[in-house]
């Protein structure tokens, strides 16, 4: 009886009794949700355009953040370092396409996946060789990102918002809007969607797959950089960050591998669900459910809606 009470009633009682705390939990969940969404976005971009599940997206986040910090440590001004890092992500995109994926056109998906795993370990080794293995501090202030926090009086309590979190949310929203416009309104965006639909037909109308894939890898690189800055600002920049990429998996399953809105909504559901689950239901099983709850949610989704919430409709004419 008591267990059922704790499971079904007590958490909601707590939520109502301490609404300010509940709001705080929601906000925390929202922020990590935004960051999950950003990582998932990087996956979606590449998967949509080339059908490659890019295992290396996580390490690209680390690599971008390390480059930024490393270049700053070399004495570059923060903004120049930022631009140089974007250039590095561009070079990485060209290199990946020219040396790996150009030669693997029309290979089975599993081979492409293996190639990205190879790329992951190459980037880990190369990153450690260049930047060293120890954690670094993100240059948050130097980039002009806000620090500090504001406390709001709401519902008879305090809700504290970190400025960096607000900035993360704003930047994520800007990026997603920009990508949506890019995909739907521009010539290249149209070509990207065409390639996603049918490689052969895209080739036949003169769209260069190499060019399109370089563009998506570059876009995914920029998304990785933004994610790296935001995650780095919350903890520090180290190779351990790479595992957050796996958090993108449940997000993708939830939202659908091919959908940008799906990545966002999926990210938010996972982020918020995880936090609320941890705070209110975690104590029941002794805590620590944050690390696996997302996968359980994803599993349930796989059983009932394998294409995800916003997965592309499979058009089949009869």
């Amino acid at each position: 009886m008591e267990f059922l009470y704790n499971l079904l009633i007590d958490p909601f009682v707590q939520m109502v009794e301490l609404p300010d705390f509940f709001l705080q939990v929601l906000w925390e969940g929202f922020v990590s949700g935004v960051l999950y969404a950003l990582i998932a976005l990087g996956f979606v971009l590449i998967f949509k355009a080339s059908g490659v599940f890019n295992f290396a997206q996580g390490i690209m986040v680390v690599f971008a953040a390390l480059s930024l910090v490393g270049l700053y440590a070399l004495g570059m001004p923060a903004y120049i370092a930022l631009i140089a890092t974007i250039a590095i992500m561009g070079i990485l995109a060209v290199a990946v396409q020219k040396t790996i994926f150009h030669h693997l056109v029309n290979q089975p998906d599993i081979i492409l996946l293996m190639a990205t795993i190879g790329l992951t370990y190459f980037l880990i080794g190369f990153g450690e060789f260049v930047f060293g293995g120890d954690p670094k501090v993100m240059i948050t202030e130097e980039l002009g990102l806000p620090t500090g926090s504001t406390a709001f009086d709401v519902l008879g309590g305090l809700v504290i918002l970190q400025h960096i979190d607000i900035a993360a949310a704003v930047i994520a929203i800007i990026m997603v809007t920009a990508l949506a416009i890019f995909f739907n309104k521009t010539r290249i965006g149209r070509a990207l969607r065409a390639v996603a639909d049918d490689h052969q037909a895209a080739l036949s109308v003169g769209i260069s797959l190499d060019q399109i894939w370089i563009i998506v890898w570059f876009a995914a690189g920029i998304v990785a950089l933004a994610t790296g800055i935001m995650w780095g600002a919350r903890s520090d920049v180290s190779f351990a960050l790479e595992i957050i990429a796996f958090k993108a998996l449940p997000v993708l399953i939830l939202g659908g591998f091919t959908s940008i809105p799906g990545a966002i909504v999926g990210g938010l559901i996972i982020g918020i669900g995880e936090k609320i689950g941890e705070i209110y239901w975690g104590p029941l099983v002794g805590g620590g459910i944050e690390s696996w709850l997302a996968y359980v949610i994803a599993l349930i989704f796989l059983l009932f809606r394998p294409q995800g919430l916003f997965g592309e409709k499979i058009i089949e004419r009869v």
């Binding site: 056109v105 049918d198 037909a201 036949s204 003169g206 769209i207």
Partner: protein, 283 residues
Amino acid sequence: MSAVETVADETAAQVAQDPILSVNNIEVIYDHVILVLKGVSLTVPEGGIVALLGANGAGKTTTLKAVSNLLGAERGDVTKGSIIFKGEEVQSLSPNDLVRRGCIQVMEGRHCFGHLTVEENLLTGAYTRRDGWGAIQTDLEMVYTYFPRLKERRSSLAGYTSGGEQQMCAIGRALMSKPTMILLDEPSMGLAPQLVEEIFEIVKRLNENERVSFLLAEQNTNMALKYARYGYILENGRVVMDGEASDLRENEDVKEFYLGVGGGERRSFRDVKSYRRRKRWLS
């Protein structure tokens, strides 16, 4: 040499003088082992419609893809011979270079972009163009005048349109690249006879009004020979016969094997088979 022959030679030389496309004895190998084309030669004169006929697996699609360079993505390779488009060897060019030079393929099975609207599909055809939005809009209107049905369905997803509309969409998309030569693969596939006729009529009009040359791969021999001026018949990766469309239509072998109307009295299947064997041995 008699005078008559000399005159005939000269006219032949004139026709052959300026082909927009000439394929010279090409051999295509898939996956380094499977020999699909065993020496195919053909020419398409500027402003002509040439039909490439033959049964399933004869090598029609492979020939077209060898020209448009879409073979690479299928692990196919042109190992011998040459392909000359507008006086330039094109084997080493990418499909996108070829589209820029005015040669575009409409693939078998239409291959519209299902999740793009009809209009977006058409616009992807203009991907290689650099002559500005105004010119592209003009051509979009031009495509809509040839295919009024596409205008009605411009904002529906191509994946939800009918087979005929998708075929029109695929041809319209190719037109948006301002081609001088379209490689049209099996436009009649899976369409009602009436629609096939409609599409061939449009091909004819495009050929006359826009001066687009066509190389047309078809299994519907009857229809193809009605609209084409010249035809090649492929069998097992070789050209076994070629000639003016009108001559081919009258040819007894073509009638028997491809048009389904037996010449003269009916022969038993047994005879046909041995006849075919003999012919192949001869060729």
